[in-house]
């Protein structure tokens, strides 16, 4: 069994239901996302179009994150899922450097790497991933790629040449496919991130990796003296700070 995902971007309407369902199901902390839906505007007014692209871990067959993890915290499950054992993770961030899709984050509560696991705990109990259940238009198609009669296999067969993966040149062989995507939606270099033009905010880069209140000294002292759990206030302060984008190290 090799589990895979397919997102039909022609169906996705950007409701972010999957994003919220993932957050709730996996208790993903503030300032981090396992699954996100990116809005991209194409064309020039009045001939414009908005596309919605859900982005999550690609569960690659040749996963660079699994290869670089020094302690096997990232590992393959028999069903093809690239799973993570946060209890073993040392927080070196090697996986964050290796993942070409930017799908791994440093959990600000545990200070260990984390990512989408295709809801491995739900799969184990015979349930579908939370994002699949939440999608109102069934744009997320999930199933066994090795079963010719599974929904995902039939969908891939039906759309054949229109099925794409992100960054095929990386030779990671992702188990996550898109239908209805194009270079401008799937290639991060083909679209611009312009400061101040986001719909609801103008924050483009996080200014911290993991917990921003957990400095180098805290990393050594935390097991003995405990550590304050980050709260909403600290993240709101972070979000409303007037630090410029250049200062944050992005472009």
């Amino acid at each position: 069994m090799k589990l895979g995902f397919l997102v039909d971007l022609n169906l996705c309407m950007g409701c972010k239901g999957c994003e919220i369902a993932c957050k709730v199901e996996n208790e993903v902390p503030l300032s981090t996302w396992r699954l996100r839906v990116k809005y991209i505007d194409l064309g020039t007014f009045p001939d414009t179009r908005r596309s919605f692209t859900p982005l999550r871990c690609n569960h690659c067959e040749s996963a660079p994150c699994e290869r670089i993890c020094p302690v096997s915290a990232l590992h393959y499950l028999e069903n093809g899922i690239v799973n993570i054992d946060s209890a073993r993770c040392i927080g070196c961030a090697g996986c964050m450097m290796a993942c070409p899709y930017g799908a791994i984050y440093m959990d600000p509560e545990t200070n260990t790497a984390d990512k989408c696991t295709y809801c491995a705990h739900r799969i184990e109990s015979g349930m579908m991933p939370a994002c699949v259940v939440a999608c109102p238009v069934e744009a997320n198609i999930f199933g066994d790629l090795e079963d010719d009669h599974s929904n995902i296999s039939l969908y891939i067969m039906e759309h054949k040449g229109a099925v794409q993966v992100r960054k095929p040149e990386k030779h990671t062989n992702p188990h996550h496919y898109y239908v209805g995507g194009g270079n401008q939606t799937l290639n991060p270099l083909a679209h611009q991130r312009i400061e101040g033009y986001n719909l609801f905010n103008n924050i483009t880069h996080l200014d911290h990796v993991g917990d921003k209140n957990h400095g180098i000294l805290d990393r050594f002292l935390a097991p003995f003296v405990g550590h304050d759990t980050p709260d909403n206030v600290s993240f709101i302060e972070s979000a409303t700070s007037e630090e410029s984008h250049e200062q944050e190290g992005g472009h």
């Binding site: 020039t44 302690v71 096997s72 040392i90 312009i194 609801f200």
Partner: protein, 316 residues
């Protein structure tokens, strides 16, 4: 809206979550910089002992392991403090995953530090019998096992090669960052080790013969020249990958780290090269030490830039 201002074929992100900025920062730069010194002095010592009599560099036997020991401890300390869960570093030894260059490097660097420590006990034990205190078992062990120094040295030189270059393989395994390619990074690490090693030994070469110091200047000149050449060819001619090209186009256009890069290049590579070449004819100890300081500062700045710039690219 922004759509008024962009070309019809362009696309613009109008809603997304904040993406990660720089994940591996200056802590990792210190890590790489200190490791270059730690392994570089071993290469340089081997070269000098091959070319000259031991009497030409009387303090090299005990000073080289001390410099390497200190530099390697800085390197390991900064490796540790960069971890978000530093106490779990032990997992690398309890649950090693051998496809990871981080694992291989941690093991090799630990063995390398162990061997350097033995050399240090021998060197210090022979030279300073009362240090750190009379009857110290470690220096006593060193004093009684002097011939072990020469026996361990070949293993140390051999081990210094993977310890120097494994970071380049980590960078190559970081497949999200196209700017870092294994062949060039491996050679850059080797040149950096020779550059940092020669610069570090210049500070203890005051009592050496002129010929030995001339060799140090030669290695400094060669390593700065070839390293500079590699950086320039990468900086201007990385056309093979769209990601590397995009990163460098941003830096070329005066973006972040452009100034730091050129200051580093000028201080660490161009000026030390000319001083070192000049010093091979006229033996000016003070000027050579100045070149060594500049080389170490410049190397740090350039390594810092090269580490950070590919991380500014949005990956998704």
């Amino acid at each position: 809206m922004v759509e008024n201002a962009i070309h019809a074929t362009q696309a613009v992100v109008t809603l997304d979550v904040p993406i990660q900025g720089i994940v591996w920062g200056s802590i990792i730069t210190v890590n790489m910089w200190a490791k270059s010194i730690g392994t570089g002095v071993v290469f340089l010592a081997a070269f000098l002992w091959f070319r000259h009599n031991k009497e030409d560099m009387p303090n090299l036997r005990w000073a080289m392991p001390i410099i390497a020991f200190l530099a390697l401890n800085v390197f390991l300390l900064f490796t540790l403090i960069d971890l978000h869960q530093p106490y779990r570093m032990i997992n690398i030894f309890l649950h090693p995953h051998w496809t990871s260059s981080i694992t291989v490097g941690a093991w090799l660097a630990s063995i390398f530090l162990g061997l350097i420590s033995i050399l240090m006990f021998i060197g210090v034990g022979e030279k300073f019998p009362g240090v750190p205190f009379k009857g110290c078992l470690l220096t006593k062990f060193g004093r009684n096992n002097g011939p072990l120094y020469e026996k361990l040295m070949p293993f140390l030189i051999f081990l210094a090669i993977p310890v120097t270059t494994y970071t380049a393989i980590i960078m190559a395994q970081s497949s999200a960052r196209e700017l870092w390619q294994a062949p060039t990074e491996v050679m850059q690490m080797m040149w950096a080790a020779l550059m940092a090693g020669s610069a570090a030994l210049i500070f203890i070469s005051g009592e050496w013969t002129k010929e030995a110091r001339k060799d140090l200047a030669l290695i400094l000149a060669l390593s700065t020249f070839f390293s500079f050449g590699m950086y320039m060819s990468e900086y201007f001619f990385s056309f093979k990958s769209s990601e590397a090209e995009a990163v460098l186009a941003f830096v070329h256009s005066g973006g972040s780290y452009n100034i730091e890069f050129w200051i580093g290049m000028t201080l660490g590579f161009i000026i030390p090269f000319f001083i070192a070449v000049g010093n091979m004819k006229s033996d000016n100890k003070t000027l050579l030490k100045f070149a060594a300081i500049l080389a170490l500062v410049g190397l740090f700045l350039v390594k810092d830039v090269w580490l950070k710039i590919p991380q500014m690219l949005p990956l998704s």
